[in-house]
Each structure stands twice: as structure tokens, then as C-alpha cells.
């Protein structure tokens, strides 16, 4: 899941923040599109990355532990519909 914006976006000059613990490691960087900004989060180990817009990021602030647990639930892909119904 490489984000296409990665190839076009501009952000090489932005500082990269690395965060890790024994369970995961991520790199975080602000990237610029022609008309705005996103936060690029990438996982060097899995090769996954995602670029979140400010609204998506704000949406994280109104999640609780249960909804974040749902995200973590399946390490191989997005939340499955069955999980949502459980």
C-alpha cells in the first residue's frame, strides 16, 4: 500500500520523526502537495504507508481506545466489515 502522493509530494526537506517500541516502528514526515499538506506515516518494515490529511488526523483525536483497537486488530489490512459488525 504505497500512497501515490508519495511520488509527487514534496517534503524531502521536512524533518523525519522516527517512533518505535518493541512492537512497531514508524517514520513520520510532513509532505506538501501543490495546494496543501499531509502527514506521511510509513512503516519501513512492512512497506506500508499512508498520507493523512488534517481532517483524518483530527478524526484520530476523537477516537477512543476501542476504535483504535479495531485498527490494530488485523495487522494485514484494513478493518474488515465483519469486525465492524461484531
Amino acid at each position: 500500500m504505497k500512497d501515490v502522493r508519495l511520488e509527487h509530494a514534496n517534503g524531502a526537506e521536512e524533518p523525519v520523526i522516527e517512533l518505535g517500541n518493541e512492537f512497531a516502528e514508524v517514520q513520520i514526515r510532513k509532505i506538501h502537495t501543490r495546494n496543501g499538506v499531509r502527514l506521511l506515516i510509513s512503516s519501513p518494515k512492512s512497506g506500508h504507508s499512508i498520507a493523512l490529511c488534517p481532517l483524518e488526523l483530527e478524526a484520530l483525536t476523537w477516537q477512543n481506545q476501542d476504535s483504535l483497537s479495531l485498527l490494530i486488530n488485523n495487522p494485514y489490512g484494513p478493518i474488515e466489515q465483519v469486525q465492524l459488525n461484531e
Binding site: 517500541n21 518493541e22 512492537f23 512497531a24 481506545q65 483504535l68 483497537s69 479495531l70 490494530i72 486488530n73 488485523n74 495487522p75 494485514y76 474488515e80 465483519v82 469486525q83 461484531e86
Partner: protein
Amino acid sequence: MNDLSQMLADVRRGMIPAYVYNDEEVFKLEKEHIFERSWIFLAHESEIPEPGDYVVRRILEDNFIVARDEEGQVRVMFNMCLHRGMQICRAELGNASHFRCSYHGWSYRNDGKLVGLPFHNEAYGGEDGFSKSGQSLLPAPAVETFNGLIFANLDPNAQPFREFLGDFAFYLDFYTRQSGDGVEVRGPQRWRVKSNWKIGAENAAGDSYHTPQTHRSVVEIGLFREPTGAKRKEGALYWCDKGGGTTYKLPPGTFRERLRYVGYTDEMIDRMESSWSLEQKRLISDDGFMISAATLFPSFSLVHNWPKVDANADDDEVVPFITMRVWQPISATETEILSWFIVDKNATEEFKEASYKGYLMCFGSTGMFEQDDVENWVSITSIAGGSMARRLLLNSRMGLTSADKPLNTPLADFHGPGLAYVGYGEFNQRALLKEWADCIERPLDQKEQLAMGEKILASGTKGREK
């Protein structure tokens, strides 16, 4: 092991069969009868101050995650994945909202709740095959905190900690409640020594007699002025419920003057004044004793000393430090020591640094006291393994007459609880080993098993594979 009832009888009269310090069968009894059902210190709350902070600690081979969950509650969870038993947290400390097993990727919240099984539907048919709702990492059977100290017990029917601790709490406050906000810790340092665990525990409980000999060099180089033979014998030894310790006799003075003598600053003394009870303060002001080493049965010890930290300072410029440790048995002949530095949370940074330096000079893997002590203990352990040691009863009767009467009468006006004596004696080592003997003698209970993820059928019987 020779005959069990004979061994226990010998220990109870203060004649210690030397082999108890190096014997596989004795160690097996200790594991089951003592460590699997005693209150064992795991961590201090200040080691996990924020939600998600965790440390990994052990009781024997049982490995636990000690975490502060997102709600701020302290949890002690068995560090074994409910699936195939992989150890979940493998780093010794960290911060995480969820733990993910590295084997098949099950994930758990930091309060232990199982939240994710990859391919739950495909692999198990969802909740029907593996009911994950309500499943959690196994909590430690019993957990309690006192002054921020987190203790756990592997026995679900254990006596409540506060009851077990009894009035030894009076003494624990001197180390861990010097102000209303409590203490913070640094460490632990962790290392292994080829010594039986009991030797160190007994030493800290009451061996004021070894200090002038074993630690002579510490006095000679001017690091610590107190442990001369003449001074140590004026200290009181006390035993109270499940623990006991040693003290030093202080020169004449008030509560404040005596605390200044061991190096506390006035602002720290102010806080002690308001957080200790009248009786606790009178132990210092009226009786003139300052707590030093102590042990709480079975394997938790504390030390309070006041060395000269700055080599160029005047002789009376000392800095006090406090340290606590766990004697974690690895085998009959090896112990893992975990050693923490403790300091009043509200102390100045300057005091904290000087006190920490004093601790490092004296204890921990670099400490001078530590080196001196361990030499002895390794040697005892090694020589206790031979056949001659099976014939030898060590005399641990110091302070008693042949008729079992104490040489000196107990202090009548001592302000601490329990029984206290002035002078040398092995009262505390005997009291500790008497606890040990009682614990070994008490029969074991049946252990219950817990099945994970298996549905309980309506009839109440468990589901079986057809």
C-alpha cells in the same frame, strides 16, 4: 536434603544445616512453598508513571508485564500469549497502548484485553470457534501496592498484603514515605551472583556483626564513618511481624539535629516531620536510632546509609541514600539481584544527584559494600554444596543463652513496633528463617487451571472436539 522435619527443627533452634544454602531439594521446596505463595516485590509505581508505560519483571520463571493502562490503573499480567504461549513483551521496558505477539500477531490492549486475532473468521469461524470477547492476559493472582511499591503473589488465596505486612509498615515508611508525595526510584540494576538467595536476605535483616570486618576497607578509605565495631554494637535490631532490620545509634540531639547528622537538609526534614507519625519521629528523637538495613520476608531488602560522597569534604559532610532490592532466586546456587535507588520525590535535583552518587559508590554492581559482601556469599554457597556441609550445623544463635534466653533484655521504651534489642545478635536472621521454616511446612493447595477461548456449553460442561 537430609530429613525434612529434622531440618526444620534445627533451623528453629538457630542451628542451620549448612546445606540449606546449596541443595536442589531445598530449593524446590522454596519455589513451591515460598515463592509461589509469598508477596514478592515487582516494581515501584514511579517506574511506570504515564499510561502505556510498562516494565517486565519476574517471580521465579513466571514473567509479568507491569503496566499502567490507558485509564491509569496499574496492571500486572502474565507475559504469555493466550494462543501458543509466546512471551509478548520482550523488551524490559517501554510504552505501548497495545502489545502485539510476534509469533502470529495476536494483539492485546495494555490492560490485557485481547483485541485482535488475525483471520478470526477464516481461522476460527469468529466468536464461535474462539470467543475473544472478555478474554485477557492472565492477571497475576494477587496484586497490592503500598507507598507505591507493587507487590504480587502467585497464590490467589494469599493473605491480603496489608495483613501480611503488619506493623513492619512502620519501618517501611522511613524508606519510602519521606514526604506526602512519596518517592521516586532509579534503576533497577540487574545482575547475577553465584550465591544462594537467603544469605543476602539474612544479611540485610540483621547482620550488623559483619560490618566492621567485611567492610573495614570502606571505613579505612573514609567513605563511611559509621561501621566501626564500637558503633555498630550500639545500634538496635528489631523484628516486627514479617520483617526486621538494623539501626545505628545517633549522637545526642533533637529529631532535626539527628537527621542533619546523617545529611538531610532542613527542607527534607520539614517534610519528614509532617509525613511521619509521632511514634515514628520518636524512634529518632527519643530513642536515637536511625534505620539502616532491613528485610521483609522472603526476598525484599532495603538499605539506608550516609557515606561521605565528596572526598574533599569535611568528615561530617555526609549524604544519605536509600536503596531497595529483590533477591530473585535463579537456582539453589545463583541469585539475580535487582537494585533500585530511592529518593524523596520532592528533594532538590542537587540532593538527588549527590545521593545517587553515594548509592553507586556503596551498592549496585559498582558498589564497594556490594563487592565485599558478595565475595563472602559466593564462597558460603560454594562450600555448602559438599558432603562435609551435610554434617555441619551452623551456629546462628548469637544473642541467646543456652537456655534460649536473650543475653540482653528487649528494649522496654523502644518506640517502634515489634521486639528490639541493642547489641549484636542473630535475632532477625533466626526470625527470617523461622518464617521460612513455617512456610515450607505449610501444605500446598491445589492449583486451578484456566482454559482460554473455549466456549462453556449451556449444560455447564466444556465443549469437546467431536
